[in-house]
Amino acid sequence: MTYSSTLEPGSNADLYERRYQRERRARLEAERLLELKARELDRARNLAEAALNTLQDAIDSLDEGFLLLDKDEVILLVNQRYRELYPEIADIAVPGTPFVTLIEAVVAAGIIVDPPPDADFVQHRLDRMRQADGPWEQRLANGRILLINEHPTAQGGYVSLHTDVTSLRHGEMQARWLGAAMEAAIDGMVVADAEGKITYANRAMAEMLGLQSGAQLIGLSSRDFYAPDELARYDQEIRKDIKINGQWRGEARALRVTGEPFVTEVSLSRLDDGGIVATIRDVTERNQALEQRTRLQEQLFRAQKMDAIGKLAGGIAHDFNNILTSMLGYASFLVEDLNEGSELQGFAKQIVTSGNRATKLVQQILAFSRQNDEQAETVPIARAVDETADMLRSTLAKTIDLIIDQGTRDAFITGDATQLSQVLMNLCVNARDAIGDGGGTIRIETGTVEGRSVVDEHGAPQETRSPDPGAAPAVLVHVDNDGSSIAWIGALRTDRRYVRIAVSDNGSGMPPEVLSRIFDPFFTTKPIGSGTGLGLSAVHGIVTAHSGALRVESRPGYGTRFELYFPAVEPGQTAGAEGDRFVEGRGAQETVLVVDDEVDVGGMTSLALKRLGFRVDHRISGIEALAAVRAAPQRYAAIITDQIMPQMTGLELTKTLRNEGFDRPIIVCTGYAEAIDEELVATNGGDYLLFKPVRPRTLGETLRALLDARSSP
């Protein structure tokens, strides 16, 4: 056997060496490949790890709880949020935990309250996931509401997403409550975006504007509902206010869909997104009520003022009246005693004329203050109007037409014809002044009308109870949109028939603020010196004294219309006929006792009676008079007594005398008719009531009539 250093081909050594070399190469190759493989695997693992981390990061950044299960329903991936949602089971909410274990732990921990965690809960829960029957909600014991969304993966596992919808659901609920509350609100509410487009409006808002539902307003501009001048104010002032203060509150005139304006109280608040939320209240009614209240207060105030002035004026007038009575009396003696046609008699006559004028003025004051000394008689309206018209025609300028429209000649009232003429004159003179130099028409209309229809159709105040003599008459002023206004004085009874006398002109008319004051005493629109200011307040007083009412309607530029309402009576309704009462008033030397605390008045009366042929005793108090009568009961044929005296009034004297059996006529005189009327005089035993100033002629005629009535069988 030969061995060589080099292996020969074909030799066994050769063979094994080649096989060994092949194997070595294969092993090196295998190592190389495995090394490559290992690196490849490393890379793959890194990639996989990175992918897994990315995935974990991704699911950890989710707002939803995330659970990935493999096909065996074992947790593969779970995020932090999931553990936060279910903190009680956080320690087992990790990869590797079977889902069923998780659910069992959830039930054991009492985490879920709805759906109820009953015996079938776990099975139902698993079925639900396997069937992936759409999103469903689960309510936890801690109050949270979770929306659960599950679906299968391509690998046969499941993905489970848990979204916390608590605040969403609460928000929805709150939104629903809020919506319901806003819909139910009485005030209008509007939300507008930054461009002013309405995004929400409640029902109250819609109804305020004349629509049915807030939805009709959505998309419209809130500017559509305000008048242009209000929009200008908004752009110039309000917008700035909101910008600075974030809000604004005030009144604004809005427009209904019909274009009708109405007053609103608005609160505006800026929203974060530049929009505005507005609360709007319709204050039309409230303002009207406020206005009415203010007006009533004004009226009450005015009435009280007039009452006070009336009392004051009445007091002064009473004193003045007494002075006038004596002045006129003495003056008339002068006229009688002085030589007919002498200069002195002319002066005396002038005193009487002036005195008479003064008496008239005093009568007006008394009429205003309701110290009524009116002569109650049945006055035919037609004749009173005719007479006034005759007087007027001579004084009116040619440019003024006077139209008399007598609806009836059969209307009568009880009252004083003189006062009635005075009222008509007053109204016509005012009408003339309102017409001015330009010319125009004064129209006087008469007619009768039922109280009921005036109340119903013309809104006249209704007299609901017997008038309280102390209560001042109401002056209601109604103002219309066209500037015309209406005032009512006094009230009408619906069960009565009234005579209506209307005086209208097409003169300048009066604005409401003037109309509301024209009955104030001393109020005048005329230049100083051209009027006393008592004109219309006297009208006021006279109408009220006649139980009447008065309506004035005026519109600046169109004219004024006065309507007087007096209770209508049948002719002859008042007791006694004129003819019976007024006879030749001459005395037949009967002795008359005159009682008056004012010496000059009593003296004047005594003188007048003496001139008429009576004998007169004058006493200056009731006490003295009583003593005189007691001393000589048969001496006096009649007694004339003043009412207002210190210690004992005229009526008290009368009553005492009657009680003591004095049966001759007693006449009571009063210049101050505080609730003294014929009836009161009669109940105290008096025979007649005379109002001061008493003209000697009237006194004489009255005395004569009473004496004659007694002596006739």
């Binding site: 063979l15 094994y16 080649r18 096989r19 070399q21 092949r22 194997e23 070595r24 190469r25 294969a26 092993r27 190759e29 295998a30 490949l33 495995l34 493989k37």
Partner: protein, 182 residues
């Protein structure tokens, strides 16, 4: 081709014809790999054909016979490597029907670089199974040996009919397996 198959072929060659012959064949064949195979490597399937061609020339045995016997050897080797595929299997036909859907599907998972054939099976009566072979490589000849290996494993005896299909280059064939009763 997986290194496992080539290593098996070399091993089979060495055990059947001796180290001497195997060495000569590998030297002559002048293979790109130099005949140094590792189970984790992948080699050109043409090396299989080279080895078989040179082995046939050296031994005078027909190449087809060599391939056939290698098939039987290969099966034993595969079972050795992957006994799990034969667990719970007790019937040859059912096992063969599962090559495509069960065995080779999982083989591809284990060795993504493996180049596997496609099989379509159909039963013809209780005792006959038709198997259609289709591959990108001409290894239809390996099939009867593999089947024989399998039938030996199950203790069954089948006659195998081999019917090459056009283009008759070993990439397409139909095999008819008939159980021999008794």
């Amino acid at each position: 081709m997986k290194g496992m198959v080539l290593r098996g072929l070399v091993e089979h060659m060495e055990s059947a014809f001796g180290l001497d012959v195997a060495d000569k064949v590998l030297l002559e064949a002048d293979l790109p790999s130099g005949g140094a195979y590792t189970t984790v490597g992948v080699y050109d399937h043409a090396e299989v054909l080279e080895i078989v061609t040179h082995l046939s020339r050296h031994t005078g045995v027909d190449g087809a016979v060599l391939v056939d016997s290698f098939g039987e050897f290969l099966f034993a080797m595969l079972v050795d490597a992957h006994p799990e595929f034969l667990e719970d299997q007790d019937d040859l036909f059912t096992f063969l029907e599962g090559i495509e859907d069960i065995i080779h599907v999982n083989v591809r998972r284990l060795y993504p670089e493996a180049e596997l054939p496609r099989f379509a099976c159909a039963r013809k009566g209780d005792d006959q199974l038709l198997m259609h072979y289709r591959s990108h490589r001409p290894f239809a000849g390996l099939v009867p040996g593999l089947i024989r290996g399998a039938s030996r494993h199950f203790g069954e005896v089948v006659d195998i009919g081999h019917e090459p299909l056009p283009p008759a280059d070993g990439t397409r064939a139909r095999f008819t397996l008939t159980r021999r009763s008794g």
